[in-house]
């Protein structure tokens, strides 16, 4: 079964790095968004199993996105935060807002794989 993944980051290069870090041979359909608002619109259009979310973005940042999906009636995806903001307070805050895992940037394939396993997606 194809797993739908939403990659949210304002940097196209960063989205590319994240996509390339996903396990080879995994049957996935990828949607990309460059901020939280675009990501919300994508989720309203169709449910996604996994959201790979940056925090520091213009328009709507990762925290606001997490808050928005928590307050919405949308089907709840697994959210893995991938961020350069690695301070303990950021990691605690996204967990409080419902994120399932946190991966530090620079993104490494083994870290993403570990987070996907931690969340039971793989």
């Amino acid at each position: 079964m194809t797993t739908s993944i939403l990659v949210v980051d304002d940097s196209a290069v960063s989205r590319s790095i994240v996509i390339r870090s996903l396990p080879a041979g995994w049957d996935i359909a990828i949607t990309q968004a460059s901020n939280g608002r675009e990501a919300l619109a994508a989720l309203e259009q169709k449910p996604h199993a996994v959201v790979l979310l940056d925090l520091n973005m213009p328009v709507m940042d990762g925290y606001e996105f997490l808050e928005a999906i928590r307050q919405s009636a949308l089907p709840r995806p697994v959210v893995i935060v991938l961020s350069g903001d690695i301070q303990p307070g950021a990691q605690a805050r996204v967990r409080q807002l419902g994120a399932n895992a946190f991966v530090k940037k620079p993104v490494r394939a083994e870290s993403v794989l570990g987070a996907l396993r931690e969340c039971g997606v793989l």
Binding site: S11, A12, I17, N56, P58, G84, I86, Q87, G89
Partner: protein, 203 residues
Amino acid sequence: MRCAVIRIGTPESRDALTELVNIGMGQAGDSLARLFDTFIQLSIPRLTMVEPAQLAPAITAMIGDAGPIVAVRQAFSGRIRGEALAIYTASGCDSLADLVGYSDVSSDELLLEISNVLIGACVGALASQFSLDLCFSPPSILRRCATAAELLEPSQLPWQNALIAEVNFRVVERPFCCHLLTFWPDESIRVLLRAVDAFLAQL
């Protein structure tokens, strides 16, 4: 005053460089959060290319009219060289001892220590992603209670263009705020962009 737009590499290399600055900023923010034991709000990094004459208006545009400022300068050198400028509001500096919980250290010592931590983490993280070794000079207080226009004398700046990478660190509900600007002169910009291109080619 408007600054002339000077192109920085390709859109893709600019995007990659901004993302790498973002990672460096995150590591610096983590260091500061641990030092202050509080949450640090980070900005979205901005890259700007300026000529020396445009520097003062560019800095004013970045930091806004926040009243008197205190600036700490630290140079770095290696295969890339440049300078970092940590700019604080004078009012925010007054709360430093309270923030870190030290009562027996002068505010100048604290400023130098905080600047050293921020610049070392931010610039060091960026350089380490390209495996570039850097040496840092000791930080020094450049000006106290100055305006942005008084910070640097354009005629004494030894470069034609400089890439400014701007990141901001803010303590929530406290007056403390630091604008960290890093200046990369012409040759270092070329080295940096070559390293970014090599990084992109690996993707």
